[in-house]
Amino acid sequence: MTVEQVWRTEAPHVLAALTRRYGDFGDCEDAVQEALLAAAAQWPREGMPHDPRAWLITVAQRRLIDQVRSESARRRREERYAADALDGAAPVGVDDSLEVLLLCAHPALTKASQVALILRAASGLTTAQIAAGFLVPEATMAARITRAKKTLAGAGSRFPAPAADLSARVGAVRHALALLHTEGHVRSSGEELSDAGFSGEAIRLARSLWRAVPADPENAGLLALLLLTHARGPARTDAHGDLVPLEAQDRSRWRRDLIAEGVAILEAVLPVGPVGEFQLQAAIAAVHDEAASWAATDWPQIAELYRMLDLIAPGEAVTIGRAVAVARTEGPAAGLALLDPLAGSRNHRVAATRGHLLAELGRTAQARVALEQAARTTPSIPEQRYLNRLLHEMA
């Protein structure tokens, strides 16, 4: 482990220890961030302390106390903190890094705020690193994190999260980590795709979520899904940074190690049940990853998995996936029919899928209209380049 990996791994534990003792998540988070910055300055130069966690807790605690002392209402707050400290630590039953994740995925926060807070509090990234990943200025990201912490304080969220809604809160963590993983491979461009970045961080956190709550099979499902999707990363763009659709990817570049790990986790958990949306999505990813080619894919199985997914977690992306699979098993016309209910959608992926299926049916003029609409409305530069290239080749 590099020194940076060490302090980032320790970050949530340090934050949990402080929050449990002093109560105020926002103040504690600021103090931990300062301790991490101190570690970044000192460790590479002076070497790693013998007990990194104790070092970070000591430094963070000192910063927290300085912070409290410097405020005008210091006496009142010191008294409150002293009283909190006397209450003693809450009973420990859950991994403390899980508690940090649960707090970050608080229902009072928007999805985007949850993700930003997770990156800072659970991943130990600096505001500057998070801002760079989201392609926004540091001041903008700092405002988001400050606001998220204020919202948490306003929602009276305490530490640890009440056990009553634990399973709902774990579900929110899963969705936030899935979003973080998508942001990672969707937001970054070209060469950055080779860097694990946010996607790698999402996998690391999904792994710790799975270890902390192994009894929930959806946690294994999420980890498997992220591994199986991440495995295709190296083939997702070509040498020019242009997007390569799954159909045309060079499958020899897929990460076999990640596929093997994802499949093993999934196969162990599927018989346990109940089967939720992340396990189904992971199962779909596994079928793709194990196919020798697009044509050799087990499409009937994918169509069935999408049918099941449509029952428990319906949405436009599921309908699109199902339409593509049904087009392979029952023909493009059957796939197209599944897209009919989405006729009024402004989603560019609906238009792109319609375009592909119409082209297969030889309805070239209609295919062009749909693909042109998709190219006009996608916000992604590589996707637009891909669709324009396709239209050019059709001409």
Partner: protein, 130 residues
């Protein structure tokens, strides 16, 4: 998702805030003008606090622009304005928001008589293939 909010206006004389120099707004009762200004200030403050505002600038008189074109195989620079139309680009804001709905909610507060506010999505460099 990122958007640019473009303020198309024609203040006479050119000046900022544009509302003070647009005939349609000068003619409004003082109370209404104050309300428009207050709405605008409060949405700016809210955007900063929420971490949605990335940046923005008020632009100088279009007549002060320099235009660069290709002419007879060479680059040729001339004086502005770029367009003779009624409205000019007077300023812009770059925002990053959660949803198209939020972008519209923000932009609605920029509207004022005699001006057109354009909300344009920005493209981003990434994409997902599957």
């Amino acid at each position: 998702m990122k958007y640019v909010i473009l303020i198309h206006s024609n203040p006479q004389p050119w000046g900022h805030p544009t509302g003070d120099f647009v005939a349609e707004q000068r003619d409004l009762p003082a109370e209404t003008r104050e309300q428009l200004n207050a709405d605008f200030e409060s949405v700016l403050e809210e955007m900063s606090a929420r971490g949605e505002l990335i940046g923005g600038e008020a632009l100088a008189d279009p007549a002060s622009a320099r235009l660069f074109r290709w002419h007879d195989g060479e680059r040729l620079a001339t004086d502005g304005p770029y367009a003779e139309g009624k409205e000019h680009l007077a300023g812009f804001f770059l925002i990053d928001v959660e949803s198209p709905e939020r972008a519209e909610e923000i932009t609605r507060n920029f509207g004022a008589p005699g001006e057109t506010i354009e909300l344009r999505p920005a493209m981003w460099p990434g994409g997902d293939a599957d």
